[in-house]
Structure formats: structure tokens, C-alpha cells
Symmetry: C2
Subunit: 627 residues, 2 copies
Amino acid sequence: MRFLAVITAVVVVVLVVVNLASHHAHATATTANFFKMPAPWGWRCEDGRCVKHAAAGGSDLVPLNQCKLTCGGAGVLWPLPASASVGRRVSLFLPQNAALRPTCPAQVCPLLQEAFVLFRDALQRYHPDYTSGEAPWAGPWDAATEAHALVVAVTVEGAQAHLTLDTDESYSLSVNTSADGAVTTATIVAPTFFGARHALETLAQLVDYHETRDALMVVQTAAVTDAPEFAYRGLLVDTSRNFVTVAALRRTVDAMAASKLNTLHWHITDSHSFPLALHSLPNMAYYGAYSARQVYTPAQVRDLVQYARVRGVRLLPELDAPAHVGNGWQWAEKEGLGRLAVCVNQEPWQELCVEPPCGQLNLANPAIYDIIGQIYEEMLDIFAPVDIFHYGGDEVNLNCWNSTQEINSWMTANGHGVDEEAYYRQWAVFQEKALQLMQKAAKGRKVEGVLWTSELTKPGRLNLSHNSSQYIIQIWSTQDDPVIGEMLAMGHRLIFSNHDAWYLDCGMGAWVGDGNNWCSPYKGWQTVYDNSPHAIATSLTGSPNTELILGGEAALWTEQADTNTVDAKVWPRAAALAERLWSNPSTSWQEAETRFIHHRQRLVQRGVQAERIQPQWCHQNEELCYL
Amino acid sequence: MRFLAVITAVVVVVLVVVNLASHHAHATATTANFFKMPAPWGWRCEDGRCVKHAAAGGSDLVPLNQCKLTCGGAGVLWPLPASASVGRRVSLFLPQNAALRPTCPAQVCPLLQEAFVLFRDALQRYHPDYTSGEAPWAGPWDAATEAHALVVAVTVEGAQAHLTLDTDESYSLSVNTSADGAVTTATIVAPTFFGARHALETLAQLVDYHETRDALMVVQTAAVTDAPEFAYRGLLVDTSRNFVTVAALRRTVDAMAASKLNTLHWHITDSHSFPLALHSLPNMAYYGAYSARQVYTPAQVRDLVQYARVRGVRLLPELDAPAHVGNGWQWAEKEGLGRLAVCVNQEPWQELCVEPPCGQLNLANPAIYDIIGQIYEEMLDIFAPVDIFHYGGDEVNLNCWNSTQEINSWMTANGHGVDEEAYYRQWAVFQEKALQLMQKAAKGRKVEGVLWTSELTKPGRLNLSHNSSQYIIQIWSTQDDPVIGEMLAMGHRLIFSNHDAWYLDCGMGAWVGDGNNWCSPYKGWQTVYDNSPHAIATSLTGSPNTELILGGEAALWTEQADTNTVDAKVWPRAAALAERLWSNPSTSWQEAETRFIHHRQRLVQRGVQAERIQPQWCHQNEELCYL
């Protein structure tokens, strides 16, 4: 009986396989009827790649999308699952016939329902004429297409509703089509909501638009078991050098979700501007935002946190200190609190900071701790629940402090001295107080802290070597930096953001002086993809240090990016990072190129203005754009 | 009596000068009332630059926009006029009170009316909440602001309605405000419509938004006389490597208009795709477009020609041949016309062309001339009136021809031989026939022809040295290429597009292989700005060759750009080119930086997603982002 069912399924399958040949009428091309003409080309999966042929070249030719969905064993899945097997046949269906069958703890069912709405929207977006949430499905369709159901049966086992570093993001997904061909069932099982939503992303990548039928197609069979290699898969966006609208941040989250990145590290403030409008300290943004329109209100932040959560993304807020502060901190003096920041906007900047404008917190003014404590409290509130917080802590300029009379005198008066190590010690004191203020603000909940590598994180300072679990260290130097090995030897947990591969702002023209910017050249997606934290650790220490390396993060510093260009700066390159961190392939970018180029197209369909990587000809002629 | 009037004017002027101080209430900042609070900062023009101060720092402080409009003698005009003097005072007004008073020959009055509609739209766009053609002006305003009229009196002297290389684009513009302060009159006189519309762009740059008053402001006095240094000020957009939508091309034209560039060189087709849907040869696009949706219909082309004309921009169409053809030419064989193109999509591409996919016209097939003739005819029709046409003519690969049996045999059978020079001679024969086909299609009208520098344009081939007026030569090598000097010595008219400064696609990741693309690094706006054709000519020949150098052109080859990113690739860098070609300043980018950064903001207001050049802090703190 079982055997017979399989045979029947195969027969039905053959009938519903869509080919080009059946549509070849004897139409003549005119400029008016291009849309109605059968395509002059078709594709066939040959040796794992889609090869273009004249449409007359065989009745087994299919449209490009269909070939890509089903060719090569894993179709065009991105990031590549731990294990995936994708069938060669597809069923046509209409998006309204996709239905969720959920099994979930009450705490996460609403999240799952929301995630399914997003899944359906992702399907609609495959239509080339999708706009403003709708697609003009017109048909006509055959009865089988109109009736075909896509049932998405999702079982979420656990009730965890917030992502942490310990969250199990794994899932299994199997796709099967009934013997009569009428129903395709996608069965998803995941220990958490976060795994389940990843599975929905994978399922969406097993669907695409069928141009000549004006319908969706889903692979009839697939089996995927999947889990990320790294728990921390991040993207940094800086909103201080230039403002980025909430709408642009949402698009960024959309693309992260589509690529299974899970952490948006929000470098909100810096010396340039302070766009975070705090109820408790409105003067920070009033004095610090570029304009009254260029602020994030508490309500907007809360909304974004929730927006990201449904998409499997946690926000990691950063308040960079004690350097990288300046504009926004000037209000206090006239209110009798003294100077909170020094060197603000001072010249010549080269003597006081790494780039204009300068500014550092005033070590000599105890009021800074009251203010930081208040900021932490409101940040933990509006970003709730915060499981990781970034203290910044990079690029302190000792000359700024030492050349400020108030600080120099205070150092001397308190017997600290004014030599280099004296300032580093006081910086460490500052950091210790910041940690205590955070703990106080967290009211007993655990909040992991992250610090950039700096002079402070060097052995001996901050007593880091005695307490390696206190901070996660984010590496931003180069892949051959011995500091990486030293940190690992000290037992530190690391996040990799080595700028020679994962800084997305490199390679433009300079913005002070001429020539090109400091970390040129531009890091192509190939460089992003091939940057392996485990390989770097192995080359420096002889071991991949799997336990200590939490993951990695690409960074968009926005001296030369804003709302208008954040999409193209980040995407699709951050998706190359995503596969490195999710799949951690032993292979190089060459093996990923065909899928990557297709994934870029999906990001565009999601509404993200991703950079173009190659001529479209390369997408239609797989593997022919080689060197 | 005259003296008294001046005195009165000054008094009135002082009264309407808007300052920040009058708006300083005792409000307290909360996140809810940022918009209603007086700005905490104001600016003062000091030694020709706008300096930021705390608002309490003086009753003469003004908003940033107002300072920029009136500081430094030429405000933030871009490109810098030949002569400009801008007053320090502004009048507030509302956009509906801007009115045109035209004096024009009947042939160009409709164009002028349209240009004025665009001018009014440009004013509306200064409002930060402009969207979809409207701005939510809300006030409240004082009576003087509500009543203030901006009269734009335009006199166009000549009836020329189409741009040519001889068009006089000069204009004069004077702005004056009545003694009672009630009316500001802008008086524009221009020999042609094209000069007049440039004047409207300049006038639009003497207007900006006043944030605290929710009104526009116009400088009360200004005197500008202006004309371009170069007649040809171009931008190339390639729509073959990747498709660019008509909407994106329109935005490109909008930004060209705002920057006084006058030629959109449309590299429509190449070996990758043939997106031009021709009524006479629909198969070209049917077989050659990436998809049925990625085509330009004749109607769309005609619309774009007109769209550009009103904006002072001519379209220069290119049909690149005999290389850079391929996809789109495959239809003829089955219709009995033989192969029109050879080497199409062949491998290994390195042996047959400069980048995948390969393809060249089949020299041995006389049918190519029928086809080219038909294409020329329809192109001249849909792009009418065409005053310049680009034949392409670059990067022929002799090995492609020689390794094609059909061509090799034909060369031998006709006694041409198969050595290098034999092929170059036949390429010259092809070009000569192309020229004749164009002359035939032009039906007696003069159509200037442009050729890229190539092996063909070398001395001796094509007999160019005997007929230097037959073609304009477009240089795409480097600024130290001796060919430039040779061409000038032969008396050729030149357009500069040396890739070491004016190729806008350079600096990204490679798209075949890894590393960075061929013409890396990225050309920053400083490099674009400082690239002076006259200086290059002088260094190579001892003379600027002012008569022979028609101008220059930036080029966006679209291997790595499409609809999503064309804005940021081209802008604002093409505006740096625009000032080089319009103003041809003897100074360098440093002197232009403040105006350039502001002009980039205007491009964004025009709806163009231009690249960000610097942190916004640099815009608010002029000249402090130095090296």
C-alpha cells in the first residue's frame, strides 16, 4: 500500500511539473506583447548548475526561478543549513492558500502568529509587481494550482520569548506533498520560537514566483535540520555620525531576519551627536541631536525592540564611554553640574581624538556618574529585556584628559599622578563604576557587558585577567593581531569584528583630506565570507577556541552613510557574514556565489536596496562569471 | 530721493532679518516638545564661514540654512557661477507666492512654463516633511511673510528649443527687494531657454527653508552672470550590464538638472543584454532583455527625451558596435539571416573579450548592415532630435573574429588576409558603413558622431588624421595617456572620461574573482573635482586646447549597480564633475567642500539617494573636518 502510494505520487508529480514547452505558442514578438509571449529561454539543472538554453532546446526546460529552487541539492538556501536535501519537483499554489497549524506554548503563540504573517508577506513579495503590501495576482490558473494548499505545521517546544546567548535556535523542517498532489505540508519542529521563525525563513526560500503561471511554486519535498554554528551573529549600525531613520533600521532588521542574523548592535551615540531622546534626560538629545527631527523617542525604541524580536533579532544597545562622547553633554554647565565632557569640538582634533569632533567624559566631575546611571536606567527600560549591553570603551585619548586643566589638577590633587598609567588606572576606575551602575540599573538581572579592545583591555589593566567572564571582548583590529591570541589565552569570550574584513564603511573617498578612507580598500563580499574566526584563532593559538568565540559582527560606521545608503552599504555583504556565522562552511566564497547572488535578489524583494554584485547575466548564466 | 529710498530699504531689511533670539522662550526640553522648542544653537557668518554658537551667544545668530544662504559671498551655489554676489539678508515667503512673469518666443514659452513648475516643486522640496509632491506648510506666519511675493521675471531671447553643442547656455540673474520689503524680484535674461532654466536652478539655490518659521527664505539681493566653461557636460549610464528603471533614469536627470549637467549618454546595449524594445525589430529585446519587464519601450524613450529636455538635458544614445554586442542578436539565424553576432556567451571569455559575456558582430554577414540601419533609423526617431550619436567602437577582440571559422574563411576568400592589420582594416570598413547608415537614417540632418578611443582611433586607421572633424573622440584611459596629446595634435575634438578620475564604478569588490574591481580604488569626489581636462592637455601638449576639448563625462558602468544603487554611485560625485565642467575653477576641492556638502543635501531633497560624504556634524561645523 505504501509502495503504491509512492508510485501514485510520482505520477502526479510528473503531471504538475511545470515546463516551458507547454506554453510555446506561435506568437510573434512585438514591443506591445512581451509580457504575453512565452520566454525565449529556459533552464535545465545540469551537474548541479542551471544552464540556459533556447526554449526550443527541450520540453524539460523550466523558468530560471524554478531551476534555482531545485538544482544543486540545496537550491538557493541562504545561509546554508547544517543539513539540507531539496527535491527536484515543485507544486504551484497561491499565497492565500498558505495556512499555519501551530502547536505552541501560550507565551510564544502570538509571536508565531506574527512570524507567519511575515512569512506570508515574504511570499507575496516574490511577485515582481508587489507594492505596498500587495501583489496583483491575476492568473488565470488551472484548478490544481487554485486548490493547492500549503500547510505549515509548526511545533514550538519551549516558551522562551526573548533571545539570549543560550537560546537554542535550531529547527527541523520537512516538506512533503500528498499522494494526490493537492497538499504540500511543511512540518517544523523547534525548541524555541526563534528556531521556528528561522525555519519559516528557510521555508520561504523553498518558494519562489513562477513567471509564466503567475503563481507561487514550492518544492514538493525537502528535509532540513539546522542550527547555527555561532550564538552571536551581529551587525553594528552607528546612528551618531549620521542619523538613520527608524524606517531604515526596520529595513535593516528585515534583511537580518531574512539572513538569520540575530543581533543588531546599535551604536546610538558618539561624540558627533546624541539622537536618543530620553524622558529622564531630554537635554541630551535636545543639545545633542543634529535636529529636533533626528531623534529616537522612547516609544520608537520600544517599538523597534518588539519589531526585531518577532524577526528573531535582539537589540544590543551601546553607550560608548568615556571617549566618543561630546555633543549632547553640554547642557549641564549652565545647570550648575559643571562640565560633563571635555575637549568637545575642540581643535586641532588630531591632538585630542581620532576623528572630529573630539570629546571625552570629565573624569574630574562626579556628576558624570549620576548622569550615566540615569541613562543606563532608561536604556534598560526602553530596550527591555536587555541581556547584553555594550559599554564601548575604545579610543580614549590621554592627551585630551591631561591637557584639560580641571582634570590634570584633579589627578594631582587626588594623588593619582598624571603619567600614562595613572590615566589608564582612572579609566579602569571609571569602567568599574560604570559596571556597578549597570548592575544597579539591572536590579539583579544579569546583563552581559561588552567592551571594545583598547588600551584598557590589555593585560593588567582593569584586572581583566582575573575576571575573564566579566566582559565579552569585541575585537576590531586585524586578523593577524596577536591580541586575539592573548585574549583567548586569558579565557575571554570574544566577538570578532576585525576591520580588515568586517568593516563595511571601508573603501570610499576620504572624508578628512583626500584619497581614500582609513580602512580602504572596500571589503568585497568574498572577503567578508572567507573571514573565519575559528581559522583566525587556529592560526594564532593552534586551536579554534570554539567555546570562547561567541561569534562575529559586521560594522557600519556611518561617517559616510545615512538613511539613503545604509541598505547598500550593509547588504548583501552582511548576508555573507551571516552564512559564515550560521553555517561556518569549510568551503570558500566560490562555492557560495550562485546562492549568494540569488539571496541578494531576495533582499531586494524584501524592500532592501542591496548593492548589486554582478551583471544580471551572471545570475542567468550560473558560474560563467569566473576569473 | 534715491538716497532716502536706500535708507528706508535698509531699515525694513533689518526688521525682516530673522534671528533666533526673538524665539527664545523659557521652554523646557522634553522628548515630546523638541519640535516646538527654540533651537539650542545658532550660526553666525564669520570670515566667510558659518560658525556654530550656543543660542544665547548673540541676537544676530541665525539658523544654519540662513547662514549658509548668505555667507561667503556666493552662499551655497553649485556649480559656482562665473560671477556671483549674494547679499546677507533674506526675506521670508511662502511658495504659493512665487510667480512667473515670462517674456519668451512662442516656441519656448511652454518649456519655460514647465521649468517654472519644476522650480516651484524644488522650493516645496526644501520643506523637511515634503512627500509625494506636497509639503505641509502650517505656519503661523506674520503678515509680512504671508504677503511677500517672489516675482520671477524671465526673458528668453531666442527660440531654440533643442540643445546642441552650440547652444548658448548663459544667463544673467539679479535679485532685488522692493524698498517696502514686500516684493522680491528675480530678473532673469538668457539668450536661450536652456540658459533661463539654469538661472531658475541658481535662483532655487538662493532659497531655502527656515525651520523655526516654517517658511521659505530668499536672499534679498543677488547679482549673477553665468555661462559654462564647457559645452559638453555629460554622464554615462549603462543599462545593459544591469537594467535601470525609467524612474531611476528620471531621478538621474533631476539631479543632472540641479547640477547643470547637460548630456545623459545612454549606453543602452552591450553584450550582456539588449533592453531597447524597437517596433521595427522587437526580437532584439525579446531575445536580449533580461526579462519582458526589463525593457524600454519606444514610448518610454520619447517621454524621457522630453522629460530631459525641459530639464536642460539632451540624451546621447549609444549603440556600441562591432564589439560589445551579443545577447539580443541571436534571433536571426532561425529566420535565415545567418549569425549576426559571434562568440556570444562563449568560453573561456578571457580569450574572446574583456569581460563575460563575449560577443561581436559577424563581419562576414552583410545582414548586419540591414539590421544596424534599421536600429539607427528607429533610434533617431524615438530619440529625436538627435544631434550627437555614439557609435561605441571600443575593445574589439581580434581573436574572437579570427577564431570564428566563418569570419576567418570570409577574410581569406575576399583577399583581406587574417593578420592583425587586416582585421583592423575591416573594422574600419565596418565603421565607415555605420557612418553611412547613420547619415542615411538622419535624412540630411547633421548628426555628430562619437567614438571611444581604441585601436581603431590610432593614427592611420580609419584615416582619422585626414578627417578629424568626422568624429568626436571620447578618452577613457588615464590622464597621463599620450594618446590624449596625439589626438589633440591631430585636431580632434575630445570628451574626457579618463577612468582614473571619472569612472564611478571603481573601487567595489571584484565581480569575477576576488579582491577589488579592475579600476580600484574608488574615486572620491575630491578626485573627480580636481580632474581638469585643460590641465591634463597642458601637461601633455603645453596648451589647454580650449577649442578642441568639448568637455567631459563621468561614467557609471553597471556591472555592480542597478536601479537600487544608481543614485548613490553617481551622486553627489557627478555634481563635482559638474562644477569642474561648468565653472572650471582654478582652485581645488578644499575651496568647494562646504558648498558641495550642502549641494549633496539638496540632491537628497530632490529625491535622489545620494551618497553621504561626511558626518552631518561637518555640515553644521563648517571647515572643522580637515586633515
